[in-house]
């Protein structure tokens, strides 16, 4: 369904003819979204046009035109996943790729101001030049800094030391669905970007809440995020050839170690204690297939997998990274780590102590550059389940439920046999929160596999409800009433509030509600 030519021309007058298109080829390429698609790679609904604004002013003008002509819009940054595609016919996509600047790095106050299309890899290298570092979400450094901070989840294994994206959000510039510009936190009082909660209105709970509105409440055009101290070199030089780029020089006061435990409970106890001790840079569970796929593909992986070595070694294991600021701190952290490992019956894997493994893990840990290998390498079909951010105990329950359920579908042959438990990540925010996702790989072009994956996700969502495991991170499209509609009644009817917020902030239903919440009727 196209948009009327006069409306098209109105958009065109805002962004210029070279930055808008409704060519079928262009639109089709935007429909290619395997991640989250029920089957195959194509979204069911095409955007009516793709518009690429370059500034807040242009976003405002587009939003006003949308309100005037009752056109729904949906914004995307890097656009990875089907939730980026409009879920209603006749809507326009706002591709924010032209808004890609790092506007400021405030070294003294340790924050950066970014536009939507700045990816974590870009911000990190610029921050490091100033002795700073940024949080990178688990999906990888190819993702937008702003998107996870303002709109979607935001967990990553370096969250042990650098919080999570929602926590790190400071001042925000927000174009509401109506086209009105709202500035949040200190920005609203002309005090700069340094704080998200004042002086001035916070609205953090409304604009983002726990996991973000997924583009359902307008467009975030600029935001500031916290940066953290970086004690490494200003530039990380690499050596070797792809796919094995590793750091040319070891980093001082840096040590990555793999620990295995006698049980999941002991592993969780260790993780919790490490968080409470406020040491460490990075922690992540390492499941066997995840690790194996980081290091090999095809027959090489299968051969290794069939030996059972990975499964044995990584049954209950995590990677823990210390990165200290001084020799004394380095020693202190190692002592604390050793004590906690001893208390919890953990064992260090000698493999991880080898210089080659230190090199290899450090690139992946700091740069978060190779996550794709462990998720999309086997088939291209990937999804994730569970994922409510809460306590370590809840994460454990998610892992148990997810493993049991996944094994059922692995036995049916619907999913890649990754051993069942392919859960990622652990404690974050210095230990008082925990997070896990249960990853699945399947063949999205195979009817039975795709349908099996869909059924698994539906059952996993139901398990989240039945077993009180919290709302899952994704799976928006698989739940009939929308995620919030399904989970709201189990959680103080919070979905009612979302519908009210949607109604209040978007009176003309202009921002695509598909991945968020419909307005109150």
């Amino acid at each position: 369904m196209g948009i009327p030519r006069d409306v098209y021309r109105s958009f065109e007058s805002v962004v210029g003819p070279e930055n808008i298109s409704d060519d079928p080829g262009v639109l089709t390429s935007y429909m290619y979204q395997p991640f989250g698609c029920r089957k195959g790679v194509w979204a069911d609904i095409s955007p009516a046009a793709v518009i690429m604004p370059s500034s807040t002013e242009e976003v405002v003008a587009i939003a006003r035109i949308c309100n005037r002509y009752h056109i729904v819009f949906k914004a995307m940054s890097t656009g990875w996943g089907i939730h980026n595609v409009p879920g209603v016919e006749g809507a326009v996509s706002l591709d924010l790729r032209r808004m890609n600047h790092i506007l400021e790095i405030d070294e003294k106050n340790m924050f950066a101001v970014v536009e939507p299309y700045v990816i974590c890899a870009q911000l990190q290298v610029e921050a490091m030049k100033k002795g700073l570092n940024c949080h990178i979400i688990g999906a990888g450094s190819n993702t937008s800094v702003l998107a996870s901070a303002t709109s979607v989840a935001g967990y990553g294994p370096d969250g042990l030391s650098m919080g999570y994206s929602g926590r790190n959000l400071l001042g925000v510039e927000w174009v509401l669905p109506t086209g009105e510009v709202v500035k949040l936190g200190s920005l609203s009082t002309g005090s700069g970007w340094f704080c998200g909660d004042g002086p001035g209105p916070s609205l953090r709970g409304i604009m983002r809440g726990w996991e973000g509105a997924w583009g359902g409440l307008g467009v975030f055009t600029k935001c500031a995020v916290k940066l953290f101290h970086w004690n490494g070199p200003p530039q990380l030089e690499m050596k070797n050839v792809p796919p094995n780029y590793v750091l040319k020089e070891p980093i001082k006061y840096y040590r990555a170690s793999l620990f295995s435990f006698p049980s999941m409970e002991k592993l969780a106890e260790a993780a919790r204690k490490l968080g409470e001790a406020e040491i460490g840079y990075f922690i992540s569970r390492l499941c066997p297939s995840f690790v194996g796929l980081q290091m090999a593909a095809g027959q090489d992986f299968v051969n290794t997998w069939n030996t059972g070595m990975l499964q044995e070694m990584l049954k209950y294991a995590f990677l823990f990274v210390i990165f200290a600021n001084s020799e004394r701190e380095f020693e202190y952290q190692q002592k604390v780590l050793a004590a906690i490992i001893e208390e919890t019956g953990g064992q260090i894997s000698p493999v991880s102590e080898a210089p080659e493994m230190q090199e290899q893990t450090s690139t992946a840990v700091i740069k978060v550059d190779a996550v794709l290998r462990s998720c999309f390498r086997t088939t291209g079909g990937f999804n994730t389940s569970f994922g409510a951010m809460d306590t370590v105990d809840l994460a454990l329950n998610q892992i148990r439920a997810g493993t049991e359920l996944k094994n059922k579908y692995i036995r049916k042959g619907a999913l890649v046999d990754d051993g069942g438990d392919n859960s990622a990540t652990l404690v974050f925010d210095q230990g008082h929160l925990a997070y896990t996702e249960m990853l699945i790989m399947y063949d999205h072009h195979d009817d039975e596999s795709a349908e099996g994956a869909f059924q698994y996700l539906a059952e996993a969502n139901q398990a989240c409800l039945d077993k009180k495991l919290g709302p899952p991170i994704f799976q928006i499209s698989q739940v009939g009433k929308g995620k919030h509609g399904a989970f709201g009644p189990a959680c103080f009817n919070y979905d009612m509030w979302l519908r009210r917020i949607k109604k209040a902030f978007d009176p003309n239903d202009t921002a695509d509600p598909t991945a968020y919440s419909p307005p109150e009727e």
Binding site: D23, W80, Y245, L415
Partner: protein
């Protein structure tokens, strides 16, 4: 045929849409300013212009989802230098082909009669005059007039045939480099000949634009000519020619009784053997631009043919194992070694080098069809060179050199451009 869209269905269907094709391998990102990898998406921004977007287009065409082949679609398809950057970046984390589906999409469209008017002119020139420059074939050998060099097309014999390539033959400003190359080789005692007016285009542009029939004709003809001439080596200064001869010619299945070498490989060998001595100082801070076709695109391409089978439930295993071309096996060190052997030279590297080098912008017909895009791409590289304080860009491809020179002329910049051969000449 070499380029069949259906051969790449599996690759096109399994792109993760992660956008890694838009940036250098993430571990190699060094700054915000030079963190782009693909000129096409960087300039035009719609996702469609990226490697992933092009895979989606190819898949949509193959599946019959796109019935209207619009002018805009054709512009998108051909506003791409086919530099292979997307392919290298993607393969940092995957085993998917990206560049060959891009070629195959073009071949698919060309096979249905969809191409740009400029392409007709290029291909007509190729058919009628054996070159892509729209110049008479009879003028092809003029660059060598006055040189005392064997002409193998007249039955003379030599160990080495020097293939100048279309641009060196017809661009009067650049022809001098071809002449200097032959002189250099002769001074080093190399038994070298040329094919004069009988030299033909390598077919690279025909291949990259999707005109497979023309490519095969020229490639087979060249192989036959060089076999018949009895040469042991084909040496070329044109990176585009080298790339196609090295990576694609072997796929034709014809015996190649000769070795294909780029001039930088050959000169590097001669310098290391002491047959060329560089003892004159040339004081300059220079940077080296890796031509795509000399670098990541010169790996010998081995298309995968086989069966996909499933193990571990849905894990897709390719039998036989696929050979992955990640781009690191190109010609990277010989030109650098030559430059470093010039007394007084200070070689400084740019941020994007080797397998993750930024393209000059001239490739795959872009210079001929979208010169503004070509010049913009070059200007980005020039900015990168200047950012490391280089006074000159050294390269090893006439197309790169031409495009850089044109961009510098357009901008009024003062950075210099040299071919590696020019440096060697100055240092002798």
């Amino acid at each position: 045929m070499l380029l069949e869209l259906r051969d790449y269905m599996s690759d096109m269907k399994r792109c993760a849409r992660c956008s890694l094709c838009k940036w250098p391998p993430l571990a190699q990102v060094k700054s915000w300013r030079f963190s782009n990898m693909c000129p096409s998406i960087t300039k035009y921004n719609f996702h469609t212009y990226s490697g992933g977007g092009r895979m989606a287009l190819g898949l949509a065409l193959a599946e019959g989802r796109l019935e209207d082949i619009t002018d805009e679609l054709l512009n998108i398809v051909y506003r791409c230098t086919a530099c292979g950057a997307c392919d290298s970046s993607c393969k940092y984390n995957s085993e998917l082909e990206v560049l060959w589906p891009i070629y195959s999409t073009r071949a698919y469209l060309a096979g249905m009669g969809y191409f740009l008017p400029e392409h007709s002119m290029i291909i007509d020139s190729l058919r009628k005059e054996d070159n892509i420059m729209m110049k008479p074939k009879t003028d092809r050998g003029k660059w060598a007039e006055g040189l005392k060099v064997k002409d193998l097309s007249r039955g003379e014999k030599a160990e080495v045939v020097y293939h100048a390539g279309c641009l060196y033959c017809y661009d009067p400003e650049l022809s001098i480099i071809a002449r200097e190359t032959v002189t250099l080789l002769q001074k080093a005692g190399v038994d070298v000949g040329i094919r004069g007016s009988q030299e033909s285009c390598c077919g690279s542009i025909a291949f990259q634009l999707g005109f497979q029939g023309e490519f095969i004709k020229f490639a087979e003809s060249n192989i036959d000519d060089w076999n018949a001439a009895g040469v042991s080596s084909v040496v070329t200064s044109c990176a585009c020619g080298f790339g196609i001869m090295k990576s694609v010619y072997p796929l034709l299945g014809k015996e190649m009784k000769f070795e294909v070498l780029h001039i930088t490989e050959y000169l590097d060998r001669l310098i290391k053997e002491g047959k060329i001595k560089l003892d004159r100082s040339f004081t300059s801070r220079v940077t080296y631009h890796d031509p795509c076709n000399l670098g990541r695109k010169s790996e010998i391409y081995i298309p995968w043919k086989g069966m996909e089978k499933k193990v571990l439930g849905q894990f897709i295993l390719r039998e036989p194992e696929k050979v992955i071309h990640r781009g690191w096996n190109g010609v990277y060190e010989p030109p650098r070694d030559i430059i470093k052997s010039v007394p007084g030279i200070d070689l400084v590297e740019m941020e994007r080098i080797k397998e993750y080098s930024w393209c000059c912008g001239a490739g795959a017909g872009v210079k001929q069809c979208f010169d503004d895009f070509a010049l913009w791409t070059a200007s980005e590289r020039i900015a990168e060179a200047k950012s490391v304080g280089a006074e000159a860009i050294v390269t090893a491809c006439p197309w790169c050199e031409r495009n850089f020179k044109d961009a510098i002329a357009a901008s009024g910049d003062d950075i210099l451009v040299y071919d590696v051969v020019e440096l060697v000449k100055q240092a002798m």
